[in-house]
Each structure stands twice: as C-alpha cells, then as structure tokens.
C-alpha cells in the first residue's frame, strides 16, 4: 500500500524557498501567482494488511522523523490501489 505524506511549513513560519520561487515566477511574468509555499512530499510503500494500519505506520513515521513539529505539519493520504513496487 502506498502512503503519501505531505510535509509543509506551518503558516506562521517564513518560507525562504517558497518566497524565492514566487519571486522567480514573478520575474518570469506570472503575476497571477500570489504566493508559493514549498514543502516535502514522500511516497511510502508499506506492507500493511489494512489502510488503517498503513496510515498508523505512516503517521508514526511522520511524527518521529518526516516532519519537525516545531516548524512543520503534515497530512497523510493512503492509496490502496498502488502496488508496492520494488525498486
């Protein structure tokens, strides 16, 4: 099963990378892009019998490792259709 974990900086935290991307887009003429926030995206292939179990594991991984609660928050989506592909 595949868990998707999105880690984003909390709204109150300044995002130097997002700001730089927004500036670059403005320079390229995309004035319509008002703001950009950059985060991280993880795909976890998990051996789990149920999607609840996969969610639990992904949640623990995010709490312990993938996100830093001081500056970041996260969101998890489970894709039950994704085959865990060995790479």
């Amino acid at each position: 099963m595949r868990a998707r974990v999105f880690v984003t900086l909390k709204p109150s935290v300044f995002d130097p990378q997002g700001t730089t991307v927004a500036d670059a887009l403005h320079t390229l003429g995309y004035a319509a892009v008002r703001d950009v926030r950059q985060g991280k995206y993880f795909e976890l292939d998990i051996d789990a019998p149920t999607s609840d179990e996969a969610r639990r594991i992904a949640g623990e991984a995010a709490d312990k490792l993938l996100a830093n609660p001081v500056i970041e928050s996260y969101r998890i989506e489970i894709d039950t259709t994704a085959e865990a592909v060995a790479r």
Binding site: D23, T27, R34, D35, A86, R87
Partner: protein
C-alpha cells in the same frame, strides 16, 4: 550465422573496421553484452583513440614524479615521505543536460579517483566555461553547476579552494565543467588499480547499480545534435553521503593492508574497472553479475556491465583477509559483496546466473583498443583571425570607460558569488582562500603547504593553439609561484571539438605540443589528465580549451603570499615587461566583440626566471603580495591588488610602443603581455627586490606605492586612470551577483 545487425553496431558507435577487428580478436561474433563492453571501452572517452598518439609526447617524468599517467591519478613527491595525488577531469556533457547533477557527479568522480590512490582528498578546484550571462538559460546552467559543485563538495567535506570561470558564446550550448582534486598520501603507500593474485576475491561496494547513464560513456564522445534529446539517458544522481562513507571506509581498508588493488566505477562502470584492473595486473577477472547489488528489477547483464551509477568501487582483497574488509565496510553501514575473483587467463569473464555472457581478453579492451592518427589540417579561419588591424576599429573608447567595463566583465569580475557557495575552509588547512590567488592548503604535520591553480584561455588557443597552450601552463605555474610555491607538477584537461574534423585535430595536436614545450621549460611534468572531445553544438565547436592545473610546493607555509596589497606605503614593483599585446584580449572581446590577433608572446626562459624570482623573493620575505597580470591587463591587475584591502594605489608605468599610436594607452593599460606580476614590497626593501630580479635577469621596476583611497594609474607621468577604490570595487565585486540577486519583485 550473423546475429548482430549492422544498425546495432552503428548505434554502439563502432565503425565497420572496428567491428571487424572485434571479430578477429574474439574469433567469433560478440554477444550483445560483449558488443556493449567493446563499445564503451573503445569509445573516445575511455580509449583516447584519437588523442593517444599526441598525449604520448607530453613530458611525464621528473625527479618528483611518483606516479605518471595511467593510474587513477598522478602523484608527486612533496617531501617528508608524503605525496600529492591529483588529477583533473571533465563532466561537460552531463552538466549541460542536468547542470546540478552533472556537476555534482563530476566532483564525486574526481574525488574517487584520488582516494582510490590511497590519498585523503584535501582540496578541490574547478574550471568552468559558460555562454554569456545575459542568456537566461545560461544563467540557469551556471547557477545549477555552481550549486552542484557546492552540494557535493560541501557535503563530503573537501574544501574548494580555487578555480576559474570564463564566458564566451561558443560555450552556450556546451558548457565546460572541469574539476580538479588533490589529496595527500604516504609516498610509499600509494595504492594502485591492479588486480593480481589468482584466487583473490573481487568485491563490489557502494551504491546499488541502476540503469543510470547507460551509454553515458559513448554519449560523452558523441556530438550534441538535434537528436540528442532523444538519446538522453537517465541522468546519474550523486549521493555525496554515500561517497563520504566510501571514502572513509576505503581509506580504512587501505590502512589495514588487506587490499591488493582498487578502482572506482566511473565512466563505463563495472566494465572499465574490471578490465583495466585485470590488464594492469596482467591477470584475468571473473565476475558473476547476478551477485551485483541492483536497484531495479530485471536488469540484464548488458545493463549491469554498462551502468554508470555513481559511488561504487571495485576492490581486490588479499586471500584470507575478506572478513576483515567486510567488517570495516559494515562499520560504515556499507555492504561489500564478493562478486568474483582474480584468474590467471588474462580474460574478463562475465557470467549471469551461471551462463557466460562475456569472455574477452582484457588487453583487447585496453592496450589493444584502436588508436587513430587522425588527419589534421590548419583551420581555414586561422590566418584571417590572426590579422588584427587596430586602425580599422576607429577611435579607441575613453580609458576610464574601458577600465570600468573590464572590471565588471563577467570573466574578470570577482567570483565571490560562486565561491561563497563553496565551503572553502573545512579541514582547517586553507591558507589562501578563493579570490586571493592560487589556492593554498597547508599539510598538517609538516611545515609545508601546497599551492594549486587551474588556468586556460580559450581565445588564445583559438588564435594560436601552440602558444595558447604554452600560455596556459605558464599562467597556472605563475599563479602558483605568486604564492611563493615552487611548481612541481601538472595535470590537464583538454576540451576540444570533434576529432573527426581535421582542423580540430590540428588544434588539438598543436596545443599538446605547446603544452609539452612549456611543461619542459618550466619543469612541471604532466602526471595525468583527461580529454574531452566532441564539445560541439550543431557542428560548431567550443573555443579549444586546454585547462592546466599546476601544483606547487611551499616549504615554509608561514611565508605564503596572497594577491592583495598589505600596507600603506609599500612600494609597488612590476616584474616582467609590457608590450603591445592586445591580440585575443578581454578588451577586444568586450569592446569590439572580437577574438583576433595573435596571443601575447611568451619567452619561456624569462617565464622560468620570473617564477624562480617569485619563489626566492617570497622565501626571503621581500615580496609581500603578488598578482599575475592576466585578463584585463595591468590596470585591472593593479585594481585587483587593491580590492578587499581598503588600500588604494598610485602607479606610473612606461608607455608601450603601440603599432597604432591611438591605441597606445589601451595597449599599455589593458594589453595582456605574459610573464608580468605586480608585487608589493616594503618601501625600504624595494631596491633589494629589484637587485634580486636583476640577478635573475627579470625586468623589474618600482612603479608606485600602496595607499590612499583611489586607484591611480599614470603613463609616463600622465594620469590615465583615477577612480575611487570603492566605486571600482563595487563594479568588480558585484557584477556577477547582479545577474542573480535581483531586487525582489513586488507582488
């Protein structure tokens, strides 16, 4: 029965004749895996088939040379039982396709070449060429390459202590990314890339093998054309963390004495490392590729043998010491896998789940690879390009404007925007940081230091390949000597167009001859290097760009000298003599868009004397700062001596005799005559320095003094430049950053 179709042979970059040769050597048709193996080993990149006959003419031996060309890197004796191990390598094509990863993996590759010799890498340099920065795509490439070099070097913890960057339209679609690395080894513990000892185990260690860069080696030898987008192989992604582990673990394994030989898997991966190690040791190697750790499923033997996944090493381990070696790798969380053993028969035998998929004599892939003496012809452009008519340029621009624009021209301007991104201080050895002249690192545990510089001026080589290459050697050695170090060895990276064109081959051959001549005269043997051909876009070659890296030895690190003036009131002495030398200059390029004329004349005897003088003058404590006159000429050099000091300068130099009198001032101030150095000396010791120069038969004259807050340059007593130091420095210091660090757009 014929099973290999012609188009497959062609796709592998092999000519009809080469293929016939393969049939002859094998006495049968090759398997597809064998075809792949031949194709990468016989590619220009691995076989040096077009360049070999010329490279043989380079001087490669000398009193200090411990290892010349042929191993993973060269080595020179630096005293106290130590060796400096160094080499330069290109990663031009990958850096165009993916600037960050291309440059990063270039750094990773050259570092592996150094530590496989048993040396701890302690310094990096890079030599870069790009198109003009006003092209946004060039800016992206430039920023990506710099970030990639930084990303890899910073992470692995090897300081980048210098380099050079120049810009020219010819590099727009084909940037040059040459990376130099230097390490220190015990002179009697240099490790080689040999396989020997029948029955010794062959180990694979490092990253898993994926389908990265398959055909990378052949790609590096094929011109870019419209279709290259389709041929694009998966880009290799660098993993500096893995390489840091490999570096530490391999050095530990080497210290254990359990190792016979080691080689990294760079271009042509497992293929190149196995057959080269076997061939050097006069042995055979048998491996089972099904044992190779793989990142992807279903990989074929062909793919495994040709993969160019990064951060992988091949080791031959002494029999009975296997467990010890495995333990060391385990400690570093690395998995050493035994994939085969050394055999007696001199063949590379590859099996896959028991089936033999390749069985080739090693020497067929290495020593007996094709060698070409390709046709050469003097390029048609040359005679015309060498004719420079200053009179035809009209009235020269005002000197002040020239001064200001040259300071801000990207090739001359400060590269701080670049090297600020490089950790240049890690390892706490850096005595001269980037921007202050040749990079200098101390050798801990001794009083010594090593200076290093990479240089090359493509315009000069374009206008006269022989002289241009001589000038490159002279400049790199001079930069090193400016710190007080004695040049002791050199490496080179030869970046040219397609060798299949006679005029390119002619440039190449002449450049190698010139390089050899200068190395002989200056006593800096070439201990290794790299050739990068096919640097072309749509049939147009880059400026021929041999880059020379010179390493120098400073016996007493505490005497080291830098570019910048030191104290108010010091005398400024000009060593060497000027001349009407505007051919190929930055001035002509910036103001007239021209690459014309003949490069500055070079008197190698004078150059050698000048370098001796610098070394003696620094050792005697006379010379307090030294900076070589390069792009932009004397006026720019004097200004650069003032920058980062808050000390101005006033100088008065004699006019040079110019062919066209109206250009007298320009030639005097901005001509790029060779073998000239601006030094500073305590005022009351200036006469001593001039006397020392006389003894070495080097022209020397006190031309001014350090101080004030302006840069003033007079010609025969008449003030020609009078610029505020702060203004001039701002132009120079921020020119490159201005292309990038634009004011934030307001949303």
């Amino acid at each position: 029965m014929k099973t290999i179709p012609d188009d497959l042979i062609q796709q592998h970059g092999l000519t009809r004749n080469e293929y016939e040769h393969i049939l002859e050597m094998l006495g049968r048709e090759p398997t597809v895996t064998e075809l792949g193996i031949f194709s990468v080993m016989w590619s220009e990149h691995c076989s040096y088939k077009s360049s070999r006959v010329h490279l043989r003419t380079l001087p490669t031996s000398g009193r200090r040379v411990l290892q010349g060309p042929g191993e993973n890197a060269g080595a020179v004796d630096i005293g106290e039982g130590l060796a400096a191990v160094f080499k330069i390598e290109s990663h031009n094509h990958p850096s165009f396709i993916e600037p960050y990863q291309g440059a990063a993996t270039g750094v990773g590759g050259i570092i592996r070449d150094i530590f496989t010799m048993g040396a701890r890498p302690i310094a990096l340099l890079n030599s870069l060429r790009f198109g003009p920065l006003d092209d946004p795509l060039v800016r992206r490439t430039f920023a990506g390459v710099v970030a990639g070099i930084a990303g890899y070097g910073n992470s692995i913890g090897i300081p980048t202590v210098g380099g050079e960057i120049a810009f020219d339209e010819s590099y727009t679609g084909n940037p040059l990314v040459n990376v130099f690395c230097l390490g220190i080894a015990k002179a009697d513990e240099i490790v080689k890339g040999v396989a020997s000892g029948v029955g010794n185990a062959v180990y694979y260690v490092g990253a898993k093998t994926g389908r990265d860069g398959i055909h990378g080696a052949t790609m590096a030898s094929a011109e870019f054309d419209e279709k290259s987008a389709e041929k694009r192989p998966a880009v290799q992604v660098g993993d500096p963390f893995m390489e840091k582990l490999l570096l530490e673990a391999c050095l530990e394994v080497m210290r254990s004495g359990a190792l016979v030989g080691i080689q990294d898997m760079g271009a042509a991966g497992l293929t190149c490392s196995t057959c080269e190690m076997g061939s050097r040791g006069g042995a055979g190697i048998a491996i089972d590729v099904s044992l190779v750790p793989q990142r992807e499923t279903g990989m074929t033997p062909y793919e495994i043998m040709l993969s160019e996944s990064q951060e992988r090493m091949l080791l031959v381990v002494k029999r009975g010491r296997e467990a010890e070696v495995e333990r060391i790798f385990d400690k570093w969380d690395l998995h050493a896998v035994r994939i085969g053993e050394v055999t007696t028969d001199g063949r590379l035998r590859v099996t896959h789940h028991g089936e033999v998929v390749a069985d080739i004599p090693n020497t067929a892939l290495t020593d007996e690879a094709p060698v070409y003496r390709r046709p050469m012809a003097e390029p048609a452009y040359l005679a015309e390009a060498q004719r420079l008519s200053l009179a035809a340029l009209g009235a020269p621009p005002p000197v002040r404007e020239v001064f200001r624009r040259l300071l801000a021209s990207a090739s001359v301007a400060s590269k701080r925007w670049v090297y600020r991104q490089y950790d240049h201080m890690v390892r706490t050895n850096t005595l001269v940081v980037p921007g202050m002249g040749a990079g200098v690192v101390r050798v801990k545990g001794t009083a010594r230091a090593l200076a290093m510089s990479v240089d090359g001026n493509g315009r000069f080589v374009y206008l006269d390949p022989f002289l241009g290459a001589e000038l490159a050697v002279a400049e790199a050695a001079r930069n090193v000597a400016c710190t007080g170090a004695q040049p002791i060895g050199a490496t080179n990276c030869l970046n040219f167009g397609s060798p299949e064109r006679p005029e390119i081959m002619w440039q190449f051959a002449r450049a190698v001859e010139g390089m050899g001549a200068a190395c002989r005269a200056l006593e800096v043997p070439i201990t290794g290097g790299n050739v990068s051909l096919y640097n072309e876009t749509d049939g147009r070659a880059v400026l021929p760009t041999p880059v020379v890296g010179v390493v120098g030895l400073l016996e007493d690190a505490s005497t080291v000298v830098r570019r910048a003036f030191r104290a108010d009131g010091d005398a400024i002495v000009l060593l060497g003599r000027g001349g009407d030398e505007l051919g190929g200059s930055e001035y002509l390029k910036v103001f007239h868009g021209l690459i014309r004329g003949t490069p500055p004349v070079l008197d190698l005897a004078l150059e050698a004397a000048l370098q001796r003088l610098l070394v003696r003058g620094v050792a005697a404590g006379l010379i307090r700062s030294a900076h070589d006159c390069a792009e932009g000429g004397l006026a720019v050099t004097v200004a650069e001596c003032c920058f980062n000091t808050s000390l101005g300068a006033s100088v008065d130099v004699p006019a040079v005799a110019a062919a066209v009198p109206e250009f007298g001032q320009i030639a005097t101030l901005f001509g790029e005559a060779a073998s000239r150095v601006v030094v500073s000396v305590e005022a009351d010791r200036a006469a001593e320095l001039v006397a020392l120069a006389k003894a070495e038969a080097v022209p020397a004259a006190v031309v001014g003094r350090v101080g004030g807050d302006r840069i003033r340059v007079a010609i025969d007593g008449e003030l020609a430049i009078d610029e505020s130091l702060a203004d001039a420095e701002d132009l120079w210091a921020n020119a490159i950053g201005r292309w990038f660090d634009r004011p934030r757009a307001v949303a």
